[in-house]
C-alpha cells in the first residue's frame, strides 16, 4: 500500500513536472519578448498598427486591384528574402522575378484613372524591395517574428513616402524613429511650418511657374506671338526658349521639393525624423554637385546598391556609368506608358548627364586638387568664377531637365528638338 502511495506520489510529481514544463513552454512561446535597449524597439504599438492599416488601405485605393495585389503579394517574398541566409546571387535572381512582375503590372495593365502622383508607387516600391531583399536582417535580435513582420510592412507601405518617396532605407527608417522623445506640442509647429512651406512651393510651381513656362515656350515656337503677352513678340525667340527652360527646371524643383517637404513634415510629426532630400541643387557649381544634392535619398540608394557594389573600386568611370544606367532605367518606371519618344528623351537626358558626371569625376582624378586657397586668385575673381559656374551648371541642367520632363510628360521628341533648335539657331 505504501509502495503504491509512493508510486502515486511519484506519478503525481511526474505529472506536475510535465504540466509545469508544458506551461513554461507555452508561456515561453507566447510571452512578450524582453524589451530591447530602446523601449519602442520591442513591439509595435496601436499607433503603428493604425498607421500600417491606413497605409495598406491607401495602397488598395490608389492602384487597380491587379497592381495592388502584385505589390501586396511581393511583400512577403521580399520579407522572406531579406531574413533568409541566401547568397546575394540567389537573392538577385528572386528580385529579378519580382521586378518583372511589378514592371508587367505597371505597363501591361491598363489603368487610365491613376493620377500622376500615383505613378511613382511602383518605382519607390522597387527601391524598397531591393533595399530589404539584399539586406541582412536574419540576425535581428530581441523582436518576435510578428513584430519584425509588422515593422517591415509599416516601412514598405508607409503612407507619407508611398507615392514619391523619399526613399528611406529600412535601417535609417527605424534608426531615426523617436516616438519616446516625441513631444507633440513642440513638434506640431515645425511640422506644420514644413508642410505649409511645401504647399506654398507646390502652388507656386503648379499655378504660376508652369503655366508661365508653357506660355513663353508656345510664344517662342510661334515666333513670339502670344495671346496673353503681346510684348513677347519683340523678344528674341532664343531668349524665350532659354527662359522657358529655366522656368521649367525651377517649377520642377519647387513642385518636387514641395511635395517632399509635405512628406517630411507629416513623417516628422509621426516621429520618423527622415532626412532632407535636397540640398540647394540649383546652386550647384557643377553637374557632379547637382547629382549629389538633388533627390539625395535615391542618390544614396544608388550609391549603396549600385555604385559601391559593382566594378573594382579603381574603375570609377565604369561605376558612374553603371549607376546612371540603372538610374535611367529606374526613372522609366515613372512613365505613364512606354513609348519610343518618352524612352528616347529620358534615356538621352541620363546619357548626357551621366557622361558629364563621368567626365568630371575622371578629370578630378587625373588632376587632383593641389592648389591652396592662399595662392589662388583674388577673392572677388573667385566669387565671380563661382557665380559663373553656378549659372553654367543651371543652364546645362535646364537643358537636360527639358528632355527628361518632356519625356515623362509623354511629349513628342520632335517638339523638344524643335525647341532646342530655336534655342541654338533662333526662329525656324
Amino acid at each position: 500500500m505504501m509502495r503504491l502511495q509512493r508510486m502515486a506520489q511519484g506519478d503525481t510529481t511526474i505529472h506536475i513536472t510535465t504540466v509545469v514544463a508544458m506551461w513554461e513552454a507555452v508561456r515561453g512561446r507566447f510571452q512578450v519578448k524582453p524589451v530591447a535597449a530602446k523601449p519602442w524597439e520591442g513591439i509595435l504599438s496601436a499607433r503603428e498598427h493604425v498607421l500600417m492599416a491606413i497605409s495598406l488601405g491607401t495602397l488598395l485605393w490608389s492602384l487597380p486591384v491587379v497592381n495592388a495585389l502584385i505589390l501586396l503579394g511581393s511583400a512577403p517574398v521580399i520579407y522572406a528574402l531579406g531574413t533568409s541566409s541566401w547568397s546575394n546571387r540567389r537573392r538577385l535572381a528572386v528580385l529579378f522575378v519580382i521586378l518583372g512582375a511589378i514592371i508587367y503590372g505597371k505597363f501591361g495593365v491598363v489603368r487610365p484613372n491613376v493620377g500622376w502622383a500615383r505613378q511613382g508607387i511602383e518605382a519607390f516600391f522597387i527601391l524598397r524591395c531591393v533595399d530589404f531583399g539584399l539586406g541582412q536582417h536574419a540576425d535581428a535580435q530581441g523582436h518576435s517574428t510578428a513584430d519584425r513582420l509588422g515593422r517591415f510592412i509599416l516601412w514598405i507601405f508607409f503612407l507619407p513616402t508611398l507615392f514619391l518617396g523619399p526613399m528611406a532605407s529600412y535601417g535609417d527608417f527605424y534608426r531615426r524613429y523617436q516616438p519616446t522623445a516625441l513631444n507633440r506640442r513642440q513638434l506640431i509647429l515645425p511640422a506644420l511650418a514644413k508642410i505649409a512651406w511645401g504647399v506654398c512651393k507646390m502652388v507656386l510651381a503648379h499655378r504660376v511657374l508652369r503655366p508661365l513656362h508653357e506660355e513663353i515656350l508656345a510664344a517662342a515656337m510661334a515666333g513670339g506671338a502670344s495671346s496673353g503677352w503681346p510684348s513677347l513678340a519683340e523678344v528674341d525667340p532664343r531668349l524665350l526658349v532659354a527662359g522657358s527652360l529655366a522656368l521649367h527646371l525651377i517649377a520642377f524643383y519647387l513642385a518636387f521639393s514641395g511635395m517632399i517637404d509635405v512628406v517630411l513634415g507629416v513623417s516628422r510629426w509621426l516621429g520618423f525624423n527622415l532626412p532632407e532630400n535636397f540640398d540647394k541643387p540649383l546652386l550647384s557649381p557643377n553637374p557632379v554637385s547637382y547629382w549629389k544634392t538633388s533627390n539625395i535619398s535615391v542618390y544614396r540608394w544608388l550609391m549603396i546598391h549600385v555604385f559601391f557594389r559593382y566594378w573594382d573600386h579603381h574603375r570609377i568611370t565604369a561605376k558612374v556609368v553603371t549607376t546612371f544606367l540603372i538610374s535611367g532605367l529606374w526613372h522609366l518606371m515613372l512613365l505613364r506608358m512606354l513609348s519610343w519618344d518618352a524612352v528616347a528623351q529620358v534615356g538621352l537626358a541620363f546619357a548626357i548627364f551621366g557622361a558629364s558626371v563621368a567626365a568630371l569625376v575622371h578629370l578630378s582624378h587625373l588632376w587632383p586638387h593641389t592648389r591652396s586657397v592662399s595662392t589662388g586668385p583674388h577673392p572677388w575673381v573667385q566669387r565671380l568664377c563661382w557665380g559663373g559656374k553656378i549659372a553654367l551648371t543651371f543652364a546645362f541642367m535646364a537643358v537636360i531637365h527639358g528632355l527628361f520632363l518632356n519625356g515623362l510628360a509623354g511629349k513628342p521628341l520632335g517638339d523638344t528638338l524643335a525647341a532646342y533648335h530655336v534655342l541654338c539657331f533662333g526662329a525656324q
Binding site: N88, K292, M303, F308, Y310, W311, H314
Partner: protein, 85 residues
C-alpha cells in the same frame, strides 16, 4: 590604427582640395558631410592600397564607414587589422 586612419582620411580630403583641421574619431563622417560617396570611394581605394586588402562593395555601408572608430572596428573584424582602442 585610428590615428593611421585619420592620416589616410586627411590625405584623401587634401587630394581633393578639402583640407580639414582635425577629425574626431567618433565624428559622423557621412552625416556631417566630411565624406561624400565619391570621397568615400577614394578613401576605400587608399585603404586597400595602404593595407593590402580588398574591401567588397557590399561592405561599403554607413554602419562600417560612419566614423573612424567604425572603420577601425570593421577592419579589425573583417581583416584582423590593428587594435581599435
Amino acid at each position: 590604427m585610428q590615428q593611421q586612419l585619420k592620416a589616410y582620411l586627411r590625405e584623401t580630403l587634401e587630394a581633393q582640395g578639402r583640407p580639414v583641421a582635425d577629425i574626431a574619431l567618433d565624428a559622423p563622417l557621412i552625416e556631417e558631410g566630411i565624406l561624400d560617396s565619391l570621397l568615400l570611394l577614394d578613401f576605400v581605394v587608399l585603404l586597400e592600397r595602404r593595407c593590402g586588402i580588398k574591401i567588397p562593395g557590399e561592405d561599403i555601408v554607413p554602419e562600417h564607414f560612419g566614423s573612424l572608430t567604425a572603420v577601425a572596428i570593421y577592419l579589425r573584424e573583417r581583416f584582423g587589422l590593428g587594435d581599435p582602442r
